[in-house]
């Protein structure tokens, strides 16, 4: 009689999934740390131009975005339009928008507010110049032309 008696059938033991939640939590925390909340839904098509001499935007909470480009929804036409926050806007709305954004911030942070222009690379400069004039009138002088990092050769 053998000393070791096999009890029952010998099947492969299942892999323990006890540590699965831990692994998923680790992934979750990784994504929570390295990403930021999406600001707004883009309503205009923007393919940013390339540039090499770029700087990082420091404080994202102090950046306001102006999107300019042809609307995704062709019912609004194919000409470039301005998008502030979540809606289309006219040139004359910019001054009020800037003022609203200033009100939201602390007094100490006001001089550091940056306006980031996200403009489609095929837009004509006319509308951009108009926006810049509006920003000057509204005393929002710190601006940033949002670009992708890359050689300008692909800007053709």
């Amino acid at each position: 009689m053998s000393k070791f008696v096999r009890k029952g059938k010998k099947g492969t033991p299942g892999i323990s999934t006890a540590s699965l939640p831990d692994i998923i939590f680790m992934l979750l925390f990784f994504f929570m740390v390295v990403t930021v909340m999406r600001q707004d839904d883009p309503k205009v098509k923007i393919s940013k131009p390339n540039a090499t001499e770029t700087e990082k935007l420091e404080k994202k909470s102090l950046v306001d975005y102006i999107n300019v480009g042809p609307p995704f929804d062709t019912r609004f036409g194919t000409e470039p339009k301005i998008q502030l926050d979540d809606s289309f806007a006219e040139l004359s709305d910019i001054a009020v928008w800037i003022e609203d954004n200033r009100e939201r911030r602390d007094e100490a942070e006001k001089p550091q507010i940056t306006t980031s222009l996200k403009v489609d690379s095929d837009t004509e400069m006319g509308i951009v110049t108009d926006i810049k004039q509006e920003l000057r009138e509204a005393q929002a002088l710190k601006i940033n032309y949002s670009v992708n990092k890359g050689s300008i050769k692909s800007n053709r």
């Binding site: 999934t17 006890a18 699965l20 939640p21 998923i24 939590f25 992934l27 979750l28 994504f31 929570m32 390295v34 990403t35 930021v36 909340m37 999406r38 600001q39 131009p49 390339n50 540039a51 090499t52 001499e53 770029t54 700087e55 990082k56 935007l57 994202k60 950046v63 940056t114 980031s116 403009v119 489609d120 690379s121 095929d122 837009t123 004509e124 400069m125 006319g126 951009v128 110049t129 810049k132 004039q133 920003l135 000057r136 009138e137 005393q139 929002a140 002088l141 710190k142 601006i143 940033n144 032309y145 949002s146 670009v147 992708n148 990092k149 300008i152 800007n155």
Partner: protein, 235 residues
Amino acid sequence: MARRPLQEINAGSMADIAFLLLIFFLVTTTMDQDVGILRQLPPPVPDDMEKPPEVKQRNVYEVLVNSKDQLLVEGKPMDIENLKQGAKEFYTNPMNSPDLPQLTQVSRAMVDENIVRLKQALRQNPDSKDLKEKLEKWEDKRSAIELVGPYKELPTSALISLQNDRGTSYKTYISVQNELSAAVNELRNKLSLEKFGVPYTELNPAKDADKPMIKAIRAVYPQRISEAEPKNIGS
């Protein structure tokens, strides 16, 4: 009633909950780094402002871009690839060309002399803002000399003037801005590598130790890009 042994909570669904959270964060967040070209706009011009003084032709590097995205630099058509080199020559004027700005040598003795003179003038009328500003400028120059040694200085009126048409495409505009920045950055990097052993772009403006270096290099190669007031040109 007999006490039942405490039952453990089933943690099997923990993974599902975590997955849900993970997917939520994947959808609602973005990872892309926001980078861009930072610029300071000039404040609005009051209507009654007097005309600025005429600047010598040689001190202005004129860059015009038309609606067909073609460049006219200093009166001649130019390819965008050559713009960086052109701007660098404008900043340094290596051949002492009479069409480019005349650089003046800044020496230790000259700076000290000016500081002494201004301090004396300040003693006589201590409230003069103009004098104080001038003194500050010369003191900046002195700290620059201490760090990088005697250097050649651009005239204060020298600038790159950029003007574009309303029909210029945005990508060309960005390319031009980029090349003009690249010219200064390359000069700054070279100087910084020579004097401090690190490129200018690696210097950190938030660090106290790097601040004087950045200031000194900026004094030698100031970024002077001026955009012309937009004009209404008939199409």
